[in-house]
């Protein structure tokens, strides 16, 4: 079986990242936005794992574990913010969160 080459993995990671980024730009629901960020994080993680496998180094997997931990933390904080946001603005539309405009 032909091994999955690094190029394939990276293309997949790029596609995942692009999907996540596009979602980030187009969706306004805060929860979906958080999900999009997750997708982008995992795309990066995929790239790390693939690169680690390619050069036989553990660093890629170590980095993925970091990304995983960070994503968990981010979701925890992000959801907390989402709840506070929903309570104060009565909406989950991130375009309503423009109080910091200049």
């Amino acid at each position: 079986m032909a091994a999955v080459s690094l190029d394939h993995a990276l293309v997949l990671a790029a596609i995942l990242f692009a999907i996540g980024f596009a979602g980030l730009l187009t969706r306004r629901n805060l929860i979906v936005v958080l999900a999009c960020i997750e997708i982008m994080l995992n795309a990066a993680g995929l790239a790390f794992v693939a690169a680690g496998a390619r050069w036989g180094q553990a660093d890629g997997q170590v980095m993925f574990l970091f990304v995983l931990a960070m994503a968990a933390a981010e979701v925890a904080v992000g959801l907390a913010i989402a709840i506070r946001f929903r309570q104060s603005v009565k909406s989950l539309d991130i375009d309503d969160a423009d109080k910091m405009r200049g």
Partner: protein, 632 residues
């Protein structure tokens, strides 16, 4: 006796200080006593000092009194010091005596004026400044007096300051003369830099020693001094202020704008004659300025309606004669004409003051007339003054001094036919306009009622000045009349004598030349009688005819100098002041502030607060950076 010299300027100065300090606590009588009294005392002291100077001349024919060192900076150490010689004696006597007579006259002339005390305050300050001017032993102190009289001239022209027109005239006088003063002060810088002192006598000695005749620096110094002189003495091209200066009270016109201050330029040039002797080109300029001025102003005087304006133009014209004399190295002739002119012109102005007062402030000579019977004493004294102005032969002082100047304009090395003809034409015009005033004001039918008659405090000065206008000429008789010329001998101690060495000297000095002048003067008087007495109506019609009217208007307006200066100097400055009123530089500063603020606005507009927009921009930026890094 000579040690009292410092009292001469100090007394009027003390009068000024007293009047300032006491001001409203003094009544009119008190102000009059202090004002006129201080000048009277000063005249007495002047008589004592100058008498002693004339009878027993000090060594070197000059007396020098240093009061204190003004300042001492790196070898520049002008003193507050006084210097008395024949030239300053002449001026001091005229200033104090004519000054006192005019003060006396003013006590009556101004008696109902609100600003009585203020008037004498200024007048005393003027006399003190003028005396400092003529007694100063260095040019810086002279400049102090020079500006001091300018200030007093301004204050007195705009004395009735509730009328903006008067204030305008005063300002004009001050500013125009200050233009000339700029040249003078530059001359002071040049003289000090070159000769290392401003003390007049050592400075002149140094100039004689170190400058070659005709050297550029001598010409430059002389021209800069001349610049100051033409400003103060109202000569072309800075003559425009004097006719307007007639806005002041009549005694002011008599004292400042006829007898004394306007001759300061003549004094200055005579005082620095050594420098002008080293600069023939500058002398030529002086003579040309004098000739041009005496003609221009003479023709202008011919068409004036305002009695005082006519006299003002005549003053400019007569000072033109003095400048002509100075320009052809007839230094003493210039001084002589200054003296005689001071008497007869002060007389004319004081007479004019009485007339204007008598007719309830009427200045227009065409609304006067027939005053011969109403004011006989004024008629006689004024006519004597006019005769002296016209140089009526033998019996007036003006004849002797003007005859001398006309003769020197031909007879000295610097003289030539052009100056001679110019001065003869000037003499003819002078006779015309002088007697035009007499015919129009005193003869014919009465047009305005006389409401007031002068009393003794006005009439005594008039009569005394009338006497002086007759006898003061006898101190210097021409050679073909008699050998009596004490003034010439006296002035010889301080000034270079007139040297009759020109091409036509023989003719200029002769009785024949004098006869020519006499004929010109009589012709002028005769024609003026015909034109303004029997043919008066014809004259009016002639003057009003379309061919002549523009010319008359041109002369009336002083040959368009005011018109020209208004456009060349005044309007551009006013325009710039209006345009730049909010400070052009501040627009640059404001521009920087505006740019900062605009930049802030632009940047803060990008802060929409929309998370997705930020993400889009960030993503775009990352792509851009990556593209640059990868594709480079």
């Amino acid at each position: 006796m000579l040690e009292l010299l410092w009292l001469i300027p100090a007394l009027p100065a003390a009068g000024f200080v007293l009047l300032v300090l006491l001001d409203r606590r003094l009544g009119r009588a008190g102000a009059a006593w202090i004002g006129a009294g201080s000048v009277g005392l000063s005249a007495l002291v002047a008589l004592l000092v100058c008498g002693s100077f004339i009878t027993s001349p000090p060594a070197g024919d000059a007396y020098h009194q240093v009061l204190w060192t003004w300042m001492d900076v790196a070898g520049f150490a002008p003193a507050i010091g006084l210097y008395l010689d024949a030239v300053s004696v002449t001026w001091v006597l005229v200033i104090t005596f004519v000054g006192f007579l005019i003060h006396l006259y003013s006590t009556e002339h101004m008696e109902h004026d609100e600003g009585f005390t203020r008037f004498f305050m200024y007048l005393n300050l003027f006399v003190a400044s003028m005396l400092v001017l003529v007694l100063a032993d260095n040019l810086l102190l002279l400049y102090l007096g020079w500006e001091g009289v300018g200030l007093c001239s301004y204050l007195l022209i705009s004395f009735w300051h509730t009328d903006p027109q008067n204030v305008y005239s005063g300002r004009k006088a001050f500013i125009v003369t200050r233009v000339g003063d700029t040249a003078l002060i530059a001359g002071l810088f040049l003289l000090f830099t070159q000769l290392h002192t401003l003390e007049i006598q050592p400075m002149l000695a140094a100039a004689e020693e170190s400058w070659a005749s005709g050297s550029a620096v001598a010409v430059a110094a002389a021209l800069l001094i001349l610049g100051g002189a033409v400003g103060k003495s109202a000569q072309v091209p800075l003559q425009t202020w004097l006719p307007d200066a007639m806005a002041g009270p009549s005694p002011v016109s008599a004292l400042i704008h006829a007898a004394t201050m306007v001759t300061a330029g003549v004094y200055l040039i005579a005082r620095t004659s050594v420098i002008f002797e080293l600069a023939p080109d500058a002398r030529l300029v002086v003579a040309i300025v004098g000739t041009v001025t005496l003609l221009i102003a003479g023709f202008s005087a011919l068409v004036q309606h305002d009695l005082k304006r006519a006299l003002a133009y005549s003053t400019i014209s007569q000072i033109g004669y003095m400048f002509l004399a100075l320009g052809v190295s007839g230094w003493e002739a210039g001084v002589f004409h200054f003296m005689t002119h001071a008497f007869f012109k002060a007389l004319l102005f004081l007479g004019a003051g009485v007339i204007i007062e008598a007719l309830a402030d009427e200045h227009d000579i065409f609304k006067m007339g027939g005053l011969r019977r109403e004011l006989p004493a004024v008629f006689w004294t004024f006519t004597i003054g006019a005769a002296a102005l016209a140089a009526l032969p033998f019996v007036t002082d003006g004849f002797y001094s003007k005859d001398l100047i006309i003769a020197t304009s031909l007879g000295t090395v610097d003289g030539n036919v052009w100056f001679y003809v110019g001065s003869l034409v000037g003499a003819f015009v002078t006779a015309l306009y002088a007697f035009r005033l007499v015919w129009l004001v005193f003869f014919g039918e009465r047009r305005t009622a006389v409401t007031r008659r002068p009393r003794w405090r006005q009439m005594v000065p008039l009569w005394l000045l009338a006497v002086l206008s007759v006898v003061s000429g006898f101190v210097w008789m021409p050679a073909w009349v008699s050998g009596f010329h004490p003034l010439e001998d006296f002035l010889d101690t301080a000034l270079p004598p007139i040297e009759w060495t020109g091409q036509y000297a023989h003719f200029a000095e002769s009785a024949g030349a004098a006869l020519l002048i006499i004929v010109v003067v009589y012709a002028g008087i005769g024609i003026s009688y015909l034109v303004w007495m029997p043919w008066r109506r014809g004259t009016h019609a002639f003057a009003a005819s379309p061919a002549i009217r523009p010319l008359a208007a041109f002369w009336l307006g002083g040959w368009g100098f005011d018109w020209l200066y208004e456009r060349v100097f005044v309007l551009p400055v006013k325009w710039f002041a209006r345009v730049a009123r909010n400070d052009l530089v501040d627009y640059v500063v404001g521009g920087i502030a505006w740019l900062t603020s605009a930049g802030w606005g632009a940047l803060s507009a990008g802060q929409t607060g929309r998370l997705r927009a930020y993400v889009a921009v960030a993503g775009f930026g990352i792509v851009l950076v990556l593209a640059v890094v990868v594709l480079r």
